[in-house]
């Protein structure tokens, strides 16, 4: 277990959004988190790298362990270098070139060696399957790319700081099917190096890419098992209703 959430409850000052969730993530696996809108999927993964607490009024009670270390006692800045995040909409830095976007995490944390930066940028862009498309225009603004390329740029940017876990919050929901397929391919490629947690409301996507799937409903963890089992023989009635499209 590289990452583990124990009795995780969270909210925004009102009624709790998440009620005592227990989930363990295995190293070098892709875990999908599915569930209807508003079930708390995004809130859940935002707790894992403590991005949740930057929202005003956010509450979080949990024991979260990264390699057995208590995340709540770590400096959130250092935690986020190990647990990276990719967001729903591509959000490259508008003032930066493609190169600088990928290098930003390293540069802002004080790495100035140009050769090492260039190496890290190339490696990250290759991992994000974007290198061949942008290698001749690294100086152009990040925003000049298409939506799908921008999202892969954001994945490269997150990979450049070499996190151990990457959280993806519906990374394909703003993309077309072809761009989505390319991202799914690259996720399967990078899971050889790191642990991935992906929130999605696309059940086919969860079935295609993930090793394990967790089903959340109204802030509660209903079922967590191997993806194959969840999609063929779910043990809870509500899981079956959801994946067969009876609600949600």
């Amino acid at each position: 277990m590289i990452l583990e959430a124990q009795a995780l409850s969270a909210g925004y000052g009102g009624p709790p959004v998440l009620k005592s969730i227990n989930l363990q993530f295995r190293e070098r696996e892709i875990t999908a988190i599915i569930g209807p809108s508003g079930c708390g999927k995004s809130t859940f993964i935002r707790c894992l790298n403590r991005m949740h607490e930057i929202t005003p009024g956010a509450e979080l009670h949990a024991r979260i362990l990264l390699d057995g270390r208590d995340v709540m006692k770590m400096d959130p800045v250092l935690l986020r270098r190990q647990v990276g995040m990719v967001f729903q909409r591509p959000n490259p830095f508008p003032t930066m070139s493609i190169f600088d976007n990928v290098a930003s995490g390293l540069k802002l944390n004080g790495l100035g060696d140009r050769r090492r930066l260039a190496e890290a940028v190339e490696k990250s862009l290759r991992s994000a399957a974007l290198w061949d498309e942008v290698k001749d225009k690294l100086r152009e603004p990040g925003l000049s790319l298409s939506g799908g390329q921008q999202q892969r740029l954001c994945i490269a940017r997150a990979l450049a700081v070499e996190p151990r876990v990457l959280l993806l919050d519906e990374p394909c929901s703003a993309l077309d099917p072809i761009a989505t397929a390319r991202i799914e391919e690259l996720l399967l490629e990078i899971k050889k190096e790191l642990t991935l947690v992906i929130v999605t409301h696309n059940m086919q996507q969860a079935a295609r890419v993930s090793d394990r799937t967790a089903f959340l409903l109204m802030g509660e963890l209903i079922e967590y098992d191997e993806t194959q089992k969840i999609f063929t023989k779910p043990s809870d009635r509500r899981t079956e209703d959801y994946i067969t499209g009876r609600f949600g």
Partner: protein, 280 residues
């Protein structure tokens, strides 16, 4: 008349009213600009731009000292006012959603509506009285005080326009909050902030009242920042209320010069900091 025709008539009538109002507003503006240009152009020549004023009765003479003085006073004011305004605005936008922020914001809005002569009086009591002399420095302080609330609120607006997703992206990379603000948020908002600072600078360049009893004015080259100094708006004021015909003509010319300066700053601000590639 059916309802379609009635709507078309209403549309035409309202359009005409709007066009008329726009024309009325522009007419006043262009009349003033044209009038200043018409009166001012005849007195602008090389000597006017490069010579000192002549004593009353002698023809010729220029306002070179006022041009240089304005540049010094306004430049110093911008050097004092812009950094305070920008950093204060950054504070308001990033950390100002509390009581302190509310008070600063409220005070800035009140100061924005304050008559500029009040800033002059403040600078007078702050610097002129204790130093026992009129000085360019006190004029710059008065102008900086006018500039700060304008730049402050403008900076806050532009920093707030930076999408939340950009900050989240930087925070998620493990970048400390202060670095996110300084290295990611500030550069993203920079074109708007700099445009605002330049426009505020051109605004204070035209202020007269705060300079009357601070920089005071001077018919000769200035003797440094701790002595009285001439400035364009103050020269216009002194010359315009004088009884001499040739001074009136020079006041028109100085007004034209000031106007052209403000125009140049405004145009260059918009050209320099145009969003790249037309994207917003």
């Amino acid at each position: 008349m059916n309802s379609y025709q009635r709507r078309r008539w209403t549309q035409a009538a309202m359009f005409a009213v709007c066009a008329l109002c726009a024309a009325a507003a522009l007419a006043g503006l262009f009349t003033i600009l044209g009038y200043i240009a018409w009166h001012g152009l005849s007195s602008i020549n090389w000597g006017f731009l490069t010579r000192l004023p002549k004593p009353v009765g002698e023809t010729g003479g220029g306002i070179a000292n006022a041009i240089v003085g304005s540049a010094k006073i306004v430049g110093l004011a911008a050097l004092m006012g812009a950094p305070i305004g920008v950093l204060g605005g950054l504070y308001l936008a990033e950390f100002g959603s509390n009581r302190t922020g509310f008070i600063i914001r409220y005070a800035a809005d009140v100061l924005n509506g304050m008559p500029s002569i009040v800033m002059g009086i403040f600078a007078y009591t702050l610097l002129v009285v204790p130093l026992k002399r009129f000085s360019a420095l006190s004029g710059s302080v008065a102008l900086a005080l006018i500039m700060i609330p304008v730049v402050l609120r403008n900076t806050e607006e532009f920093v707030r326009l930076v999408p939340h997703s950009i900050r989240e992206a930087a925070l998620a990379l493990g970048v400390p909050q202060w670095k996110v603000v300084l290295r990611v948020v500030l550069p993203t908002a920079a074109p708007g902030i700099l445009t605002g600072a330049l426009l505020a600078t051109s605004r204070i360049a035209g202020e007269t009242a705060p300079l009357i009893f601070t920089a005071f004015g001077n018919h000769f080259w200035d003797n440094g920042l701790l002595n009285p100094m001439a400035s364009l708006p103050h020269t216009i004021y002194t010359y315009a209320i004088s009884p001499y015909k040739d001074w009136h003509a020079q006041a028109w010319a100085a007004a034209l010069l000031l106007m052209l300066f403000v125009l140049a700053v405004n145009v260059s601000a918009r050209l320099l900091f145009r969003p790249a590639g037309g994207a917003r």
